[in-house]
Symmetry: C2
């Protein structure tokens, strides 16, 4: 039976109308009542533009109050929000818009033309409201958001999150972290990623404010932690490094109770340094498919189990496809795990069996049940919190005339964690690294452009002619190659 | 799709093995790991006695660690716990055992014979464990407990709670009260009632201890609040009165953050007194059908809205069958509301339509959305937190020879809130009040025995010959009658 709950924003606006929902760095705040009224008004305007139950609507925006309003507005119409990464190229965006059958894109700015109609937030606000009933209840089984993740094939797949996935993610996190009515969650990560989006939804479900940074800025981030009453912050490795540098010999207020660290494994040295400075870092493990963290190191164990991602959240389960204590593929299960990919049964069936999601990541569980992730999803590069699949870069760059084949791997990087580097076999000796970079810039988001390019005579392949990426990694370690 | 979560006790024993689950007044404590191991062992023994998935198993016990173990043991076998009120007579118990198709009763003591087989907790512990798989996941849609409530017809109805009903009740309460890892919940109310049972389940879901009183004792209760680190306590009116008396000019520690007041409306004078003494009383409204509180006055409003039961919990909805602001029947909806009564479609369909439970209680909602309950379920008497339906007493006593008819109503009482009083039309002038009390004592739980008995020539009836209870109430107010 479909589980129905009251519409969460309407509900929070009733329970805590005057409570702050969103706080911006310039001091502007919006209460839950204001957020509800803005969102309902925006919904009525979207209805005037033809948005209805089941419509797929793209959202292309950096962190902004208009984006928050647009997301909630779609819930009032039971439309689906397709969250678009603003760093993608036109070509990448169009792929996702086509695949998700997006009818309309709501954008912060007037940008290039895309395959779907575009309306800026401002344009929508100028539309007349069309009256009619707005949704009063949320069906937890209904689809709410689609967020693309590339995956090993290089074809991005749209992860569908139901309302229930997000709800259970919020409840699971609350059972782990507890909930104080004084909590304030710092959102400096992009809201188009599930990590940022989940902060917005927890805010509404818990009745606590989000302190929202429009873009990540290390000074603003530090100030937020130091002076703005933030109690919990979602961070990635690069942000943790920045804040340790900013902090100097100072200390954050004791009310800062959790730095929830996601976005890929963190170097142990960094975790040790955070520990030495008594920073409340909670390492976590999750992915778009799990609606953000699904495994988190709980407060009591944060120091004793450095390097571990912790235990699965209360509603979640974890297993390793290997003998006890040995390294194998990590599988997770729970009501925050997606039911699958949009219009892609094949990928869904490959990834999810009997409710268990095969993450492709490798890890082991210690004797006390703590997860250690030893290797990320097959070939995945995580650079500054952004996921990059080598295949996607390889496919794009192979289209450049004069290139025969190309292999991409991640290289460890002090600042970004990892950067993508490319090994190129050229047909035409006139093709330069600059040509490749320029071509990549036209087809790929900036963070996906290979930061180092090596020309090689051939790529290492196995008997089945598959690229052996581990050998490319070894080339980097052996340092036999000179970047061009 | 059925929502599956990890078995909650197994999960908590994994997340917090050394955390205290149950603390008794003699200082004995049980960790979550110990509680899990005891419960799993007990489950294997119960399997030896033939208990299996779907078995209906009665639990007849006061608050005791054995009772807690038995409840969790049944979850490991996916059996259903029929929670029996220890104050019921043999006749009342047998009605429930028959109706719920109970195969086996697990009892604290060897009592009278009942229509179902009985095994004491000690007897079960002497059984050999029967090996085999125990449940590792909980299906939230599956039935977990049956608790009887009398209702207006006088025939008790078995309210079926799914795991999901209890889960959502716990989550709804957490969203209202917040959750600190230092929380400790005082359970002095009977665990066979949903109010007490819900404390046990919240403990497991939240990972916090229950400080359990085996029976209510005002001194132990006061000491628990004063010295035992209790942060939240479930109370009924009579307990709140007691603790105000015990407190004298003293104050409870600031860590006591919530006295969750249920079990019927409280006198305003008492709430004012609690307010004057800065006791953190949270008035609430709920019933067996709603798996405990469903409407609660939240922290910020507890003082400003005295007399109100508050607003529906985050996952719940509320409406009044009347024009805005006017008094009408209270209806509630949400995933903590039962799907219905065991083997009683007629009663279920009468009570629940489109997910809305018609409570029978009357109330109104003020302009800010706060509920005020003005009259309880048709004719319901609440005495010391126990629900009493007059019809049940009337049916039982009319069986006494020499009695023609009988009408029962509640009378306000300083100590118990209300007491049942009977108006009797006798055929045989030799029948005395003592005869009636003695007969009642043989057929009804002690709290249901009329505390005052009035002989009258006839009962007030309307044109359809239905008893007009309000007129009996008026007799009491007019004080025309002398108790026998």
């Amino acid at each position: 039976m479909a589980e129905m709950i009251p519409h969460w924003l309407t509900k929070q606006a009733d329970l805590a109308p005057d409570q702050t929902a969103i706080e911006l760095t310039d001091g502007t705040t919006y209460t839950f009542l204001e957020l509800k009224e803005k969102s309902q008004s925006f919904a009525r305007k979207l209805r005037g533009l033809g948005v209805q139950k089941g419509s797929k609507v793209g959202i292309l925006s950096g962190n902004h109050i208009d984006m928050v309003v647009a997301i909630h507005a779609l819930t009032y119409l039971e439309a689906v929000a397709v969250m678009l990464n603003t760093r993608l190229t036109k070509q990448e965006l169009n792929y996702q818009l086509n695949d998700a059958e997006v009818e309309l894109v709501l954008a912060q700015n007037n940008g290039e033309e895309l395959v779907a109609a575009i309306a800026t937030f401002t344009e929508v606000r100028n539309v007349h409201e069309q009256q009619g009933e707005l949704c009063t209840e949320i069906n937890l089984d209904a689809g709410f958001t689609i967020i693309y993740t590339s995956g090993t094939t290089g074809f991005p797949k749209g992860v569908v999150h139901t309302y229930g996935n997000h709800w259970w993610s919020a409840v699971g996190s609350m059972l782990n972290l507890g909930l104080n009515k004084q909590d304030k969650w710092l959102g400096a990560v992009p809201m188009f990623h599930v990590s940022g989006l989940s902060i917005l939804l927890r805010s509404v479900i818990y009745g606590i404010p989000v302190y929202m940074l429009e873009t990540y800025d290390k000074n603003l981030f530090h100030e937020a932690l130091m002076y703005k009453g933030v109690t919990i912050a979602s961070v990635v490795t690069v942000m943790l490094k920045d804040l340790i540098n900013q902090l100097g010999d100072d200390r954050y207020p004791d009310t800062l109770r959790c730095l929830l660290l996601g976005g890929g494994p963190a170097p142990e040295a960094l975790l040790e340094e955070a520990k030495a400075r008594q920073l409340p870092v909670f390492q976590s493990y999750g992915m778009t498919e799990t609606s953000s963290q699904i495994v988190t190191l709980s407060p009591g164990k944060a120091l004793a189990k450095i390097g571990s991602s912790g235990k699965p959240l209360f509603p979640a389960r974890l297993k390793i496809n290997a003998f006890p204590g040995e390294v194998g593929e990590i599988l997770v299960k729970g009501p925050m795990v997606t039911n699958g990919y949009f219009n892609n049964d094949k990928a869904t069936q490959k990834a999810i069996q009997d409710g268990w999601l095969a993450t492709g990541d490798l890890g082991y569980i210690d004797q006390e049940g703590f997860l250690y992730v030893v290797d990320r999803r097959k070939d995945l590069i995580i650079s500054g919190g952004e996921n990059i699949y080598p295949t996607e870069i390889e496919k794009a760059l192979t289209m450049l005339d004069g290139i025969r084949e190309i292999g991409v791997v991640g290289k460890a990087d002090e600042k970004w964690g990892e950067i993508p580097v490319a090994f190129v076999v050229a047909d035409d000796p006139a093709v330069s690294a600059d040509d490749i970079s320029a071509f990549a810039g036209n087809h790929l988001a900036g963070y996906k452009i290979p930061k180092e390019i090596y020309f090689v005579d051939e790529l290492p392949r196995n008997a089945s002619n598959k690229l052996v990426r581990i050998k490319l990694q070894n080339y980097l370690i052996d340092n036999d190659f000179q970047s061009h």
